[in-house]
Subunit: 195 residues, 4 copies
Amino acid sequence: MARNSDGTKRTAILDAAVVEIARHGYHQTTVAMIARRAGVADGTIYLYFRNKEEILFSLFERAMGRFISEGRSQVDQETTAIEKLRRIVELHLTLVGKDRDLAIISQVELRHSLHFMDQLSRSQVGEYLAIISQVVAQGMEEGSFRKDLDPIFASKAIFGVLDEMATDWVLSHRNKRLESQAKAVTDFLLGGLSV
Amino acid sequence: MARNSDGTKRTAILDAAVVEIARHGYHQTTVAMIARRAGVADGTIYLYFRNKEEILFSLFERAMGRFISEGRSQVDQETTAIEKLRRIVELHLTLVGKDRDLAIISQVELRHSLHFMDQLSRSQVGEYLAIISQVVAQGMEEGSFRKDLDPIFASKAIFGVLDEMATDWVLSHRNKRLESQAKAVTDFLLGGLSV
Amino acid sequence: MARNSDGTKRTAILDAAVVEIARHGYHQTTVAMIARRAGVADGTIYLYFRNKEEILFSLFERAMGRFISEGRSQVDQETTAIEKLRRIVELHLTLVGKDRDLAIISQVELRHSLHFMDQLSRSQVGEYLAIISQVVAQGMEEGSFRKDLDPIFASKAIFGVLDEMATDWVLSHRNKRLESQAKAVTDFLLGGLSV
Amino acid sequence: MARNSDGTKRTAILDAAVVEIARHGYHQTTVAMIARRAGVADGTIYLYFRNKEEILFSLFERAMGRFISEGRSQVDQETTAIEKLRRIVELHLTLVGKDRDLAIISQVELRHSLHFMDQLSRSQVGEYLAIISQVVAQGMEEGSFRKDLDPIFASKAIFGVLDEMATDWVLSHRNKRLESQAKAVTDFLLGGLSV
DNA sequence: CATGAATGAGAATTCATTCAT
DNA sequence: CATGAATGAATTCTCATTCAT
């Protein structure tokens, strides 16, 4: 049986799914492949997940959960908006860059269908964006960020840059660490293009 | 008549594919559905495309082709980097915002698999990013953009913001026009978050 | 239960295949037809055979297996080469003549393609010919067969006569039993045409 | 356009079919493949043949026609049954051995289905066997062949040996000429196995 | 006669899911 | 809880044949 952190079968199945889906893509991955890697019978999968798609959802939830809880705690450790932003950028790139398999899933496989993305954006992604927009709002109040910004808009722009860096890293096959981009990203977000 | 001499049937198939894939997603769309909407027989599809996946590729090529050729021409109509950037932002959001079906495809369906994205990013997306990075480089030379930027990095960041706006627009079901965001995007890109 | 532990389903599929293929020919027989006759679902076929062609191969192996094992035991029950030959002829015609469906398969359907025949001739047919050529060699040593023969050549000639009788019987729609030819065949093989 | 003896398209098509079918097998050969090799359009095939199967029939007829007409003329050039037999054996092995592609067709591809073989055996194969059986009958009258033979049976046995030699030659990938077996075959047919 | 674009019926195979053990 | 044999719906693609030019 596959080794897994807390020893539950559910975890083993999710761990197996990350590897298989990252390697073969969601549609090319069969439930049987996940079951074999998880060391369980095909049918056992259905004791823990309603269907194949639910595995993908759960994968996403597990990953997003970390983003959100760690995001919050990082943000709480800083006082100024600029520092909070810096932490978010670092966290985002570090978390994605830590596990290439998981990154492939979040940057590519998770975006399979409108239906799927719809559900994602409504739920935890929205929560993540909310954290970011609160930081922006705080910066505006502090006087360190421009006041002519819509915090919601800004949070999406920030997320867009982070997301593109992550996708680019997944698609490039170079070994450079993703988090090495953190400073450049923060600089760009803070200062923009202009002199 | 030489095959595809006028492209009528090929175009009809691609047009049909855009609608069906946007509506049902790539995997839920059958070749038969595309054929019916295009008004041709199932087998006819295979006179113009080697297989189903090639339809998706061709869809992308057709769309990216417009981005690139129009992008270049827009850029050429301006002299300063700032104006060029403004034009690119407007063009990007306008083109994506013009056809929601096509937008769904480019923002969601086209990102189906690592294998697929790999090929996309290598080809025309790279060309598009090159156009952007040239504008950034010009801005640095002109002295209007910061000199401490890597133009390649900046082009990705810019693309990330544009792409996120586009995706957000596709996923939101509001009717607000996508290009109405152009000014905010340009402002953000130029000025960044800081005061 | 281990897959195929008792072979029940596999056997049912092969039995069904014999009937359907004999009746409609290999290419006109669909996997669904075989499945229906075997009383299993279409997909079940693929738990026991990799593909449709493998069913045909397995059919052949099952049939040839009998020829070889029974051939050997018949040969072993006799001492002189002449008697051994007589037994082989009887066995061959009896086994083929016992099941017209199987005979149709072995005389016609199994010879579908060069690729297919190539594999057949390399494997068990070669073994069968070896049994015959050993008998010929024994006859030469005993002094009952002509010494100016090549046993390999002779075994092919013998097989050719038997095979032609079998094919002729399959194609003729008379009811005469195939094994009724055994004496004439043996006589011909032993004495040839000349006085 | 493919070179062909008398320049007619029909001949070009048949010549092309021999090559393609020998190389890929009847079912793997498409009408388009034959058309391309023959240098005609797909539709043109149907001006000369009702359907794909008729090409195969015509191929067979053309080949069997040679067997029969040459067979007759060879037989007519000799007086004794023994010499006539010798000539038939030589002719058969020479004709088959002359063109490996055609040999593949006659030994393998032509035996595709019961339905097909049925029609073959009724028509020209029967005529060919009749020529042989007449030789046998003559030999019996002359007193050079055993009188206890059924000429029909004997003709099948003779054909069986010839056919097996031909098939064996097609399947073996050695270069030995098929007609080099003629003497051994005639010897075997005349003298049988016994001393 | 010749063309070749278009047709559309047809079939093998896959795989998510179930359920008897 | 766990198994894994069995299910059968579902879909891509091929290719013989037609027919308007």
